[in-house]
């Protein structure tokens, strides 16, 4: 076993790199390691049995029957020469001993570790109801295959619980296939958490124009099955009983960090905290130098947004962060790079391409700068403390790089210049209408113990799920 003396050069030549998480971030990180000349051993650990695959098509083309759930394998940038442990979950981490424990009891030693375990679909809160035949979630290829089969069987009605991006895309696919669908959303409009109430109202029109039975301000209180254990109906908070053959729980994602409980890493339901160089923090808030994090499971500070720790479940973030993490794993200090990616995502629903840059929920105000909300084709920017903090486009994505630069240059809000397709009188800021952030959170708790400086310790208390 080669000595791991901490030198990047030694590691690059004959170190042991272990990547936990074999999806987009894990794969791109592994490829970047090799690209940058890493010649040591590489182990890829993934709990799913599949080779790395792409998830965005699972809620779009796969549900439309245009492509199979097993046909979205990610293109490979290069050969990896890795040991693949697929269908094998990591169950524990020994930071001091530099070992990852696997479900089968095996342990894998590392010199440098990358954690990219991502997220999973948040399950339905009531376990017995969640196991009813017809109650599904959508995150993995297996889940997509199951949902696609249900849609092929022409259900009389699909209930989608939650109108975030995934829920909205599922509803869109149902309507495109001529399947009746009800969407139950707790907030006042679809996408309201990500884009606010003004844009959410446009999304609501989109749903309804395409024949979705959209019910906002409504929660599902219970799912009821028949004697055979098949879903029969849902009880809604307004007292309605809705018959449905299929219910898709689209209530966001849960970060896969349970396996790190007690490991000493700052890992919890909100993700794993890391610095801008993708190095994980331990529970004391001290940065580690041999554990790196990337993708949906990471939380890292972003200078553009007040050094807030951002958790981004974005495809582009997974790729960019994986590349930075891998680069930093094989580079000595001065050559390391910060992960300064400008948050960006896209969605395709009801024939509309929705794209965004920046962090919309930080925006208090919104101004439509091109096109119009009524035509549902527009570009709008979000303002925060007098500067542009985010932008969203509906079928106007080609302009987005410009707004990205406005964010990067802290341009004043509202923008005040002549431009093509400008609303008469210029953009008028209005409240962006984000919901009160004081919603139920799943945040962890930290306690301080000890008296003497040498005894003072931060203890991490995982949140109760």
């Amino acid at each position: 076993m080669p000595a791991a003396d901490g030198s990047a050069e030694e590691f690059r030549r004959r170190g042991h790199a272990v990547v936990v998480g074999a999806s987009l971030a894990g794969l791109r990180a592994a490829e970047t390691l090799r690209e940058e000349g890493f010649a040591g051993t590489l182990t890829m650990i993934g709990d799913e049995p599949h080779e790395p695959y792409d998830r965005p098509p699972l809620s779009k083309q796969v549900l439309l029957g245009r492509t199979g759930a097993g046909d979205t394998l990610l293109p490979r940038r290069r050969a990896l020469e890795a040991r693949w442990l697929l269908g094998t979950a990591a169950t524990g981490l020994d930071l001091a001993g530099r070992r990852v424990r696997l479900a089968g009891g095996e342990e894998v030693r590392y010199d440098r570790l990358l954690i990219a375990t991502g997220t999973r679909a948040r399950p339905w809160i009531k376990e017995t109801e969640a196991t009813l035949d017809g109650v599904l979630t959508l995150r993995t290829a297996g889940e997509a295959a199951r949902l696609a089969r249900r849609l092929d069987a022409r259900p009389r009605r699909v209930l989608v619980i939650g109108a975030g991006f995934t829920g909205s895309e599922i509803a869109s696919a149902c309507r495109e296939r001529g399947i009746d669908v009800t969407v139950a959303e707790r907030g006042p409009a679809p996408l309201v958490g990500a884009l606010g109430g003004v844009v959410g109202a446009v999304a609501a029109e989109l749903h309804r124009a395409h024949g979705v039975d959209l019910r906002c301000g409504i929660t599902v209180t219970a799912l009821e099955g028949d004697q055979a254990g098949r879903l029969r109906c849902a009880h809604l908070s307004d007292g309605t009983v809705l018959e449905a053959d299929v219910a898709v729980v689209a209530l966001g994602a849960v970060r896969n960090t349970e396996w790190l409980a007690g490991s000493g890493l700052a890992a919890g339901p909100r993700g794993i905290a890391c610095d801008a160089g993708c190095r994980a923090f331990d529970v004391h808030g001290i940065v580690t130098d041999d554990v790196f994090v990337a993708g949906d499971v990471a939380r890292s500070p972003h200078p553009l947004f007040g050094y807030q720790f951002l958790s981004l479940e974005h495809w582009g973030n997974a790729v960019a962060q994986a590349e930075v993490a891998a680069h930093n794993m094989v580079s000595p200090g001065p050559e390391r790079r910060p992960h300064l990616w400008l948050p960006a995502f896209w969605s395709a629903q009801f024939g509309v391409n929705i794209k965004s840059v920046g962090v919309p929920p930080m925006g208090r105000e919104l101004a439509v700068v091109q096109g119009s909300l009524t035509e549902r084709r527009f570009a709008a920017v979000y303002g925060h403390q007098g500067r542009v903090i985010a932008a969203v486009t509906f079928d106007h994505g080609r302009w987005l790089p410009f707004y990205g630069r406005l964010i990067e240059s802290a341009a004043p809000f509202p923008p005040d210049f002549a431009q093509v397709d400008r609303a008469p009188g210029g953009p008028r800021p209005i409240p962006a209408e984000f919901p009160d952030p004081a919603l139920p959170t799943h945040g962890p708790t930290v306690t301080l113990s000890g008296y003497a400086p040498s005894e003072r310790r931060v203890t991490f208390v995982p949140a109760r799920v």
């Binding site: 024939g351 700068v369 091109q370 096109g371 084709r377 570009a379 080609r398 302009w399 987005l400 790089p401 410009f402 630069r405 210049f417 002549a418 431009q419 093509v420 397709d421 400008r422």
Partner: protein, 411 residues
């Protein structure tokens, strides 16, 4: 040497065969004001930024005419502008309607389904060279091929090629910013007349297609798309003129530049013969290295724009020198090297932003099929003349003729 004379030297015919050293000189001042008030932008990031900048208009009606142009613009009474020279929302509506019978989401496979037809056309043209030892790649191949393709696609009778070719030449000449002491006004007027004539011709065809529709794009555009929005008859004619011209005047140069570049790089030619899959990155590299559209001379600043340390004032004409941005060493390592396997090649060959080349997927496929087959079938091809004679136009740049000698064709 002042920058004013530099842009002139670039558009001067003497620079046509190799404008690249002049572009390198131009890049020393990324945003350079010319003495006639034009701002030339020549570096990659600055061009890419402006392509996505809503403060830049493509509509010539926003121009403050430069001296000598006023009367021309006032006289402009021909066809209204096509979506190439419009801003949103008009641009978006027309381009969206034109896309319906051409690309996603309504016509997902239109272009990829053309592959078989393209391969047959290419085979036929190369078969025609079997008994010869020399050919003009332009006249014998690179011109007739895209013309056949666009005629088939639009539903324009190929027999009429002789008629619309003359109009197309005149229209394209109108894009030529011209040289000192010449009459750009005369060329612009001739281009306007040609556009009218071509429009009249296509209006007749559209009327035919409306009565007896076929599977072509003109029929689809004439029929509209259910009761959703549709083009007016005049918009339809203007769009058809644009597609016909753009559909063949640029691809000719892409294929000809491609063959010329391959003959100058025998290693690349050999690699393409051995691994036809190389055609995909090779065509991208070609679009970077020898782009058929060298510059976009028709944009106007709607507001003061700070870029590259310079403020482009409101109303100023802006030229985006795409071919120069493509050779910017800040963006492309070793930019003057033709590297058919280059990765991360986000070139400016098709422009960018909302005016990104409408026909890009088709142009790519045409060039991939054409160059792969030329490489495979011509035996020992070599340049007869290097550099070959070039066409006048500095915007749509390419050889007028490309004489190539070879020792026959393999089947």
């Amino acid at each position: 040497m002042t920058s004013a004379t530099l842009l002139r030297r670039i558009t001067d015919y003497a620079a046509r065969a190799d404008p690249y050293p002049l572009y390198a000189e131009l890049r020393r001042t990324p945003v350079a004001r010319q003495e006639d008030g034009v701002y030339a932008v020549s570096t990659y990031w600055e061009i890419a930024g402006l392509l996505h900048d809503p403060r830049l208009s493509s509509d010539p009606r926003n121009r403050v005419p430069t001296a000598g142009e006023e009367d021309i613009l006032e006289e402009e009474q021909g066809l209204p502008p096509s979506f190439l020279r419009l801003d949103p929302p008009e641009h978006d509506r027309l381009r969206r309607l034109a896309t319906r019978p051409f690309g996603p989401p309504d016509s997902l496979r239109r272009v990829s389904d053309m592959r078989g037809d393209l391969a047959r056309m290419v085979s036929g043209l190369i078969d025609g060279l079997r008994d010869r030892e020399q050919a003009d790649i332009v006249e014998d191949f690179a011109y007739p091929f895209p013309v056949m393709v666009i005629c088939n696609l639009l539903g324009v009778p190929h027999e009429d090629e002789g008629r619309f070719h003359v109009w197309a030449e005149a229209i394209v000449a109108g894009l030529d910013p011209g040289e000192e002491g010449e009459g750009p006004a005369e060329r612009l007027r001739a281009a306007q007349r040609a556009r009218m004539e071509l429009g009249r011709y296509l209006a007749g065809l559209i009327e035919d297609r409306r009565r007896a529709p076929g599977g072509d794009m003109l029929s689809a555009l004439a029929a509209g798309h259910g009761d959703r929005e549709r083009m007016s008859p005049l918009e339809l004619v203007v769009t058809a003129v644009l597609l016909l011209i753009a559909g063949h005047e640029t691809t000719v140069n892409l294929i000809t530049n491609g063959m010329l570049t391959l003959l100058r790089h025998p290693d690349a030619l050999r690699r393409l013969r051995e691994e036809p899959g190389l055609a995909v990155p090779l065509v991208e590299e070609l679009l970077r290295y020898e782009p058929p559209v060298q510059l976009l001379p028709q944009r106007t600043a709607l507001a003061d724009i700070d870029v590259g340390g310079v403020t482009i004032p409101r109303g100023a004409p802006v030229w985006l020198v795409l071919a120069s941005g493509n050779r910017d060493p800040r963006r492309f390592p070793d930019p003057d090297r033709f590297d058919p396997g280059r990765t991360g090649n986000e070139h400016l060959g098709f422009g960018g932003g909302i005016h990104y080349c409408f026909g890009a997927p088709l142009a790519r496929l045409e060039a991939q099929v054409a160059l792969t087959e030329l490489a495979r079938r011509l035996v020992e091809p070599r340049l007869v003349e290097d550099p070959p004679p070039y066409r006048r136009n500095p915007v749509l740049r390419g050889p007028r003729h490309l004489p190539v000698a070879f020792d026959g064709c393999v089947p």
